[in-house]
C-alpha cells in the first residue's frame, strides 16, 4: 500500500475544507482546524493498478495574524494550494504561502485550485491573475465545492505525480 502526505493550504475562507469534504473519509471534525490547526482525512485513488492512499492534511487557513504552520507541512509529498476566484487577493497571497511551504519541503508536485468557480458572476480573476497565480510545473485548475468540478481531477493529478515522479527519481 502506498501512502502520500498531501497538504492543503490557502488563505482563510477560500473554501478548502468544503472543497474536499464530500470526497474524503475522515473521523475528525472541522473543529480540529480551529483548535489544533489541522484536520486529517483520507482519500483513496488508483494510479495504474496501484492503490494510493492520500493522507490529506487540511491546514488551517491563513489569516492576518496566524501563518501556515510550517511543522505540518514537513515531509509532504504534494501540495494543494487553494485560492478564491472571487477574491483576487487570495490568489496573490499564494506566493507567500508557496514560499513558506517550499522552504520546508522544497519543490514537490503541486496543484493550484482556483475555487468557487460556480460563482461565475462574481469571478474576479482576470486571465493575467490566473496566469500569475501559478509557477512553472504546477497544475492549475478551476474547482467548485458546490458542483465538485475539478476536485477528483486535482487528486488524480497529484496522486499520479507523486507516485510516478517518485519512481522516476529512484
Amino acid at each position: 500500500m502506498i501512502q502520500k502526505k498531501i497538504c492543503m493550504v490557502g488563505v482563510y475562507g477560500t473554501g478548502k475544507t468544503c472543497l474536499v469534504q464530500q470526497y474524503v473519509q475522515g473521523i475528525f471534525s472541522v473543529k480540529y482546524l480551529s483548535t489544533v490547526g489541522v484536520k486529517i482525512d483520507r482519500k483513496e485513488v488508483k494510479v495504474g493498478d496501484k492503490e494510493v492512499t492520500l493522507m490529506l492534511w487540511d491546514l488551517e487557513g491563513r489569516d492576518g495574524t496566524r501563518d501556515v504552520n510550517q511543522s505540518y507541512v514537513r515531509g509532504a509529498h504534494g501540495i494543494i494550494y487553494v485560492a478564491d476566484g472571487t477574491r483576487p487577493e487570495t490568489a496573490k497571497q499564494l506566493h507567500d504561502l508557496r514560499r513558506i511551504v517550499t522552504d520546508e519541503v522544497g519543490e514537490v508536485p503541486s496543484v493550484i485550485a482556483l475555487n468557487k468557480f460556480d460563482l461565475k458572476d462574481e469571478w474576479r480573476l482576470s486571465a493575467d491573475d490566473e496566469e500569475a497565480a501559478g509557477a512553472p510545473g504546477m497544475h492549475k485548475l478551476k474547482t467548485s465545492a458546490k458542483t465538485g468540478e475539478g476536485v477528483e481531477a486535482a487528486f488524480q493529478w497529484l496522486a499520479e505525480k507523486t507516485v510516478n515522479g517518485a519512481e522516476k527519481s529512484r
Binding site: M1, I2, Q3, K4, K5, G26, I27, F28, Y32, V36, G37, V38, I40, D41, R42, V52, T53, M55, W57, N69, S71, Y72, R74, G75, A76, H77, T162, V163, A166
Partner: protein, 532 residues
C-alpha cells in the same frame, strides 16, 4: 669523451652541454631508468592478477566488514539471487543444508505454542472453576456482554491494545497492530493526527529541542509515544501500565531503527517494506489480568478439583465392582452342592476354584440367577458328593428314575392260555425283585414310597370272560411269586386289563406273543414328613 661541468667557462655552449649531459645520464643510468619506467607503468596501469586477488580477498573482506556494513549490504542482493537460483535448480540441496537449523526451530516453535496453550488452559480452568469465574459467567449471560469483556472489566490490570509505527517526518503509518478482537480501521488517520498533535504541542509550548508529548490519558486509556530519529512508536494502553511496557516499547523502536535503517531513510510512502516489523510491534501488545498473576495460595486448587473428581469416579467404579463380586461369591457359597475354596479377581476376570456336586447347578447359572454376569469367569471345580438333604434327594430321585425305567421295561411272558411261570419268567422276576428293593431304598432316601402296578394282558383269541380270568390268573401268579420273595402285598396293585389296552406291534403273531404278559408300572410318591 671529456666532460666539462663548468658552465660558467663555456656559456655559449649551454644547450649543447645539456644534451650531452642527458646522453651521459642515458649511458650511465639507461637500463635502470628503463626499468623504473616499466615499473611505474605497471604500478599505474596494471590490475591485480587472480593469484594476488585470491591472496588478498579474505583480509580485504574482513577489513571492510569491521569498518561498516556496506559490504553486507552490497553483497546481499547477489547472495539472494544466488540462493533463489540455487533453490530453483535443486531445492533438495538447500533443504538438506538448512535441515539441521529447521528441525530445532520448528521444535522450539511447537514447544512455545504448546506452552502458551497450557497456560491458557490453566487460566481457563482457574477461571471457570473459581467462584469469581462463575459469577462473571452469570453476569455475561445476564447482561449479554461477551465473557472476555466481563473478565477484562473486572480483572484488567492493563492491556496494550494498539501499537502504531509512524514515520516521523510525514506522519504516515508504517505499520499497526491491535490486540485480538479490536479493530481500528482508521489507524492511518490516527497515526497522522498523532504526529500532527506532536507538532501542535511542540509549536504551542516550544519546550526545546527534542522534547515531545510522551504520554496523554483519556478516561482509562493512555497513549504513550516514544520517538526515534526517523519513526515514532505509539502504544494505546487500557489500565495502569508498569514501566516494563515502556521498556518493551523502547526496545522495539530501537530494533526498528536498526533493522529498517535504509527503509526509513528512503521511505517514500510505500509501507510494504515495514510488514516484517509486525512481530516487533506485537511484542508490545499484552494483556495482564489479575488472574494472570501467580497465586501461590490457590494454585493447588485447580488440581484438587479434577483430582477429586477422578478419585470419586474411580471410587464409585471400585465400590460397584466390589459389591458385585461379594454378591456373586455369596450366591455361589449359598448354592447347595458348590463349595468355594479359593476366589480372586483381577483385570482378566474372576478366578474361582472349589468343589461341585454333579447334580448342583452350573456356577454361571447361579451367578446369572443373581443378576451377575462377570466379564470372564475362570472356574476350576472338583466333583464331590454333597450330603445336603436337597442334593441327596435330588440324587435319589435320579436313582429312582433309572430303576423305575429298568423295571418298567421288563415283561413276564406266558404261553397261550397259560398262567404258569416258566424258567425265563422266574429268572426275570428274580432280578426284578432285586431292582424293586433297590427302588424302595432309593425312594425312602428321597423321602417317598413306591407302588408297583402289575398289568396283566392276554392275546385277543378266546372269549372276553376267559381272557379276563386268564389275565387275573397271570397277575396273581406274578404277585404270588413277588410276595413270596418278601415284597409286601400292600405295595402291589393288581390290574388285569386283558385285551383292553394291548401293546401295539405291527406283526400280529408278535403282538399276540407280547400281549400274553404281565408288565409293570412303578409310581413314586413323595410322602410328607408329618405322615411318616
Amino acid at each position: 669523451m671529456t666532460v666539462n661541468f663548468d658552465s660558467a667557462e663555456n656559456p655559449g655552449n649551454g644547450a649543447e652541454r645539456a644534451t650531452e649531459f642527458d646522453r651521459l645520464r642515458e649511458l650511465l643510468l639507461g637500463p635502470e631508468q628503463n626499468r623504473i619506467d616499466e615499473l611505474s607503468d605497471e604500478l599505474h596501469s596494471r590490475e591485480l592478477t587472480e593469484d594476488e586477488l585470491a591472496d588478498k580477498l579474505p583480509e580485504a573482506i574482513a577489513l571492510r566488514a569491521s569498518r561498516d556494513d556496506q559490504l553486507g549490504r552490497a553483497l546481499s542482493p547477489t547472495i539472494e539471487t544466488a540462493l533463489r537460483e540455487s533453490i530453483r535448480r535443486d531445492p533438495q540441496e538447500i533443504a538438506t543444508a538448512i535441515f539441521p537449523v529447521l528441525g530445532p526451530a520448528i521444535r522450539k516453535s511447537i514447544a512455545e505454542t504448546m506452552a502458551s496453550l497450557v497456560r491458557s488452559i490453566n487460566n481457563a480452568v482457574e477461571q471457570s472453576l473459581s467462584l469469581q469465574g462463575m459469577r462473571w459467567r452469570v453476569e455475561s449471560w445476564r447482561t449479554g456482554i461477551p465473557y472476555p469483556e466481563i473478565v477484562i472489566k473486572h480483572a484488567l490490570v492493563y492491556r496494550v491494545e494498539h501499537a502504531f509505527l509512524v514515520h516521523a517526518e510525514t506522519g504516515l503509518l508504517l505499520e499497526h497492530v491491535s490486540a485480538p478482537e479490536l479493530n481500528l480501521p482508521d489507524a492511518d488517520l490516527i497515526s497522522s493526527m498523532l504526529s500532527a498533535i506532536q507538532d501542535f504541542v511542540r509549536d504551542s509550548f516550544r519546550p526545546g529541542e527534542g522534547a515531545m508529548l510522551r504520554t496523554f490519558s483519556v478516561g482509562e486509556h493512555t497513549v504513550q509515544v516514544e520517538a526515534g530519529p526517523r519513526a515514532l512508536l505509539a502504544v494505546v494502553i487500557r489500565g495502569q501500565a508498569p514501566d516494563e511496557v515502556l521498556e518493551k516499547q523502547q526496545n522495539a523502536l530501537e530494533t526498528v531503527h536498526l533493522e529498517f535503517a535504509s527503509q526509513l531513510a528512503d521511505f517514500n510512502g510505500d509501507a510494504t517494506a515495514f510488514a516484517p516489523s509486525r512481530p516487533l510491534l506485537e511484542d508490545c501488545l499484552e494483556t495482564v489480568l489479575t488472574t494472570s498473576r501467580p497465586k501461590g495460595k490457590t494454585a493447588w486448587l485447580k488440581w484438587v478439583i479434577p483430582l477429586a473428581l477422578i478419585v470419586l469416579v474411580l471410587g464409585v467404579l471400585w465400590i460397584r465392582a466390589t459389591t458385585r463380586w461379594n454378591r456373586g461369591l455369596d450366591a455361589l457359597r449359598a448354592e447347595p452342592g458348590l463349595v468355594v475354596v479359593d476366589a480372586s479377581r483381577g483385570w482378566g476376570g474372576w478366578h474361582i476354584s472349589g468343589l461341585r456336586d454333579p447334580v448342583a447347578r452350573e456356577p454361571e447359572a447361579v451367578l446369572a440367577a443373581a443378576g451377575i454376569t462377570p466379564r470372564a469367569l475362570d472356574g476350576k471345580w472338583e466333583s464331590y458328593l454333597s450330603l445336603n438333604p436337597m442334593l441327596v434327594a435330588a440324587r435319589a430321585i435320579r436313582g429312582v428314575d433309572s430303576l423305575r425305567k429298568a423295571i418298567e421295561s421288563d415283561r413276564i411272558l406266558f404261553s397261550p392260555g397259560s398262567s404258569q411261570l416258566d424258567q425265563t419268567a422266574l429268572a426275570k422276576l428274580t432280578s426284578l425283585a432285586v431292582r424293586y428293593r433297590q427302588l424302595e431304598q432309593e425312594a425312602a432316601q428321597a423321602s417317598g414310597s413306591v407302588r408297583l402296578e402289575l398289568i396283566g394282558r392276554t392275546d385277543p383269541s378266546g372269549t372276553d370272560a376267559t381272557n379276563a380270568k386268564l389275565a387275573e390268573n397271570r397277575v396273581a401268579a406274578v404277585a404270588g411269586w413277588l410276595e413270596s420273595s418278601g415284597i409286601s402285598p400292600s405295595r402291589l396293585a393288581h390290574n388285569a386289563i386283558a385285551t383292553a389296552r394291548p401293546i401295539a406291534v405291527p406283526d400280529s403273531a408278535e403282538r399276540a406273543r407280547i400281549n400274553r404278559s404281565v408288565s409293570f408300572s412303578a409310581t413314586f410318591s413323595a410322602i410328607s414328613r408329618g405322615s411318616q
